[in-house]
Assembly symmetry: C2
Homo-oligomer: 338 residues x 2
């Protein structure tokens, strides 16, 4: 028995099922694919594939549909990489080049990704903790207030206003500014926090309370979990493709989309390269008929964050993977450019 043909059958089943959303039988499969064998042969192959757990039948006498394991094999070995059309590439490019700041880049990415894939798109904002400090500014405002501004390598700007117990002298502000700049610029944010902590020692006991409170605020900003976990979601109208039963198919996904913590776990670690998680592989019950295609994006060799799509397991994997990969590349490039 030819192993190759059986894999061809599995590929045909996945493709047909994705296209038609209906269980595919031996005969209708041959209508769409020339395998050069008879329906009976295909049936035998199907029986084997079912034994091995790649496909299953909803009820005794219906066609077959792929299992998670079947999709997994398809993604790993059977799908051919689908190149994006020039029109799609151009769409991504024109969409992203108009962006004015990081927020805008993220929001436009979500939109273009949702449109390209017809799925729900998720884009994580560039991680703060993975960025380096590009510039730090320290400005005395009216009274005893001080404005702190941090600009990171990914172009993100964070600012805080703090109220000090006493008014700062101009010379101390200038001194602080240069010392803080020297200690932090070019460092990753977590390291910058350490440098700052060390720096406190170098000030006179007199100034130390004020310096400490400024440093504390900066450190908070550097390790700000809240903004490190920001996420944009788009294309929720595409949830229609998940199925018709709201409670079992759509609601769990909507609920997951509302929980940042869950979303972050779903996007997964920002490893380089494309990641596909199918059904139970998502590790989230309620998303058992859902697949997630995600990819890290970043500048050069530094992964800044992750983006991806959430769709039904019966999705066009090659197309989705191509789109996610392409958008990730373009976003990384756009952020590096600014």
């Amino acid at each position: 028995m030819s192993d190759d043909r059986r894999l061809d059958v599995l590929r045909a089943i996945v493709e047909d099922y994705v296209a038609t959303q209906e269980p595919v039988g031996s005969k209708s499969l041959l209508d769409r694919h020339q395998l050069g064998v008879s329906p009976a042969t295909v049936r035998n192959d199907m029986a084997v594939l079912e034994d091995e757990g790649y496909i299953t039948q909803p009820h005794t006498s219906a066609g077959r549909i792929p299992t998670d394991k079947g999709y997994r094999l398809f993604v790993d070995r059977l799908s051919t990489v689908k190149a994006l059309s020039p029109a799609e590439r151009r769409a991504i490019e024109t969409f992203l080049t108009g962006a004015v700041d990081v927020d805008d880049v993220v929001q436009r990415s979500v939109k273009v990704l949702a449109q390209l894939t017809n799925q729900v798109a998720i884009v994580q904002y560039p991680s703060l903790t993975r960025s380096t400090v590009r510039h730090i500014e320290l400005v005395a405002l009216e009274g005893s207030r001080v404005l702190l501004v941090v600009i990171t390598s990914s172009g993100r700007v964070e600012q805080r206003i703090i109220e000090l117990v006493e008014t700062l002298g101009d010379d101390l502000v200038a001194d602080l500014r240069t010392r803080i700049t020297r200690a932090t610029v070019g460092e990753r944010l977590p390291e910058a926090s350490l440098r700052l902590a060390e720096m406190i020692e170098t000030f006179s006991a007199n100034d130390r309370p004020v310096v400490t409170s400024i440093v504390t605020t900066l450190t908070q900003t550097f390790t700000n979990e809240r903004s490190d976990e920001r996420i944009a979601v788009g294309g929720t109208a595409n949830l229609a493709r998940f199925g018709s039963d709201f409670d079992t198919a759509i609601k769990p996904v909507l609920e997951a989309m509302e929980e940042q913590v869950v979303l972050l776990r779903l996007l997964g670690e920002a490893t380089s390269g494309l990641s596909v998680r199918i059904g139970t592989e998502t590790g989230h019950e309620g998303l058992s008929s859902t697949a997630i295609v995600s990819s890290a994006y970043g500048t050069d060799d530094l992964a800044l964050a992750t983006l991806g799509t959430v769709g039904p397991t019966r999705m066009d994997y090659p197309g989705t993977m191509a789109a996610v990969g392409a958008v990730a590349r373009y976003v990384g490039r756009t952020l590096a450019d600014n």
Copy 2:
């Protein structure tokens, strides 16, 4: 014939229909409300109400359901204001007081509003154009770059980095800072733009190109439509309540939620006080079985922006209106405090 009783019947129909989601007949209505009359009398009243267009029947022999006109009358004249429970008040308060900045306030408001109403919540970010300038900072960065920071009365901080053609002298930066501050602080953003334009004339022809490019960027920031139109949406999982038919009931709403322009129109003008738009009153086809409860929020007598909820026309109007109003008040207060 007593007009009062007929209104009582309408109120009972609305309340029952909202509670049960099922057409209400004369008998089952009397099971839940003591009107002191017989079913036949109620039937007569119902016939009149139907003639007048306040209720309708899905098919010849089913109970009645309110029409948009019926809900409108209910909202205008029949509903009694429902006070929030102390627990609900406390929930709002504790939720909002933890907020660290404007972004956080908005995001927490969306969440609490969605939870209180079990509907989709929308919160518009405080409008830039309605705020006044609280502080402007101008900082020379490395090379010929300049950082502009604007802090508005609503606590929002906007920043821009611009690349000038030539490096600025320290004295010019200081001069610019004081003059810009004098011209703009305390002004509404649109007026501040005008003051800035006038100010350009007062500089020497030599400095004018640099000043112009800085002023241009500031003006752009002041009248930044993109950030003036920012909106946060939450509680989409509550779409379950809209009905079971995805394509007609849920998809149009999801699509509207994705289009900021549509959302802004739906929230409506930030007039003070509560606004309720029912069915076709939303002016958006696809939302014909949807009602929007919105309210402006702001500091003192200045409306900053709008927030509200989107839900099915068969919603608990008194409860929703109470929640929207309360959240709007708390958000306004929170923003004023910071």
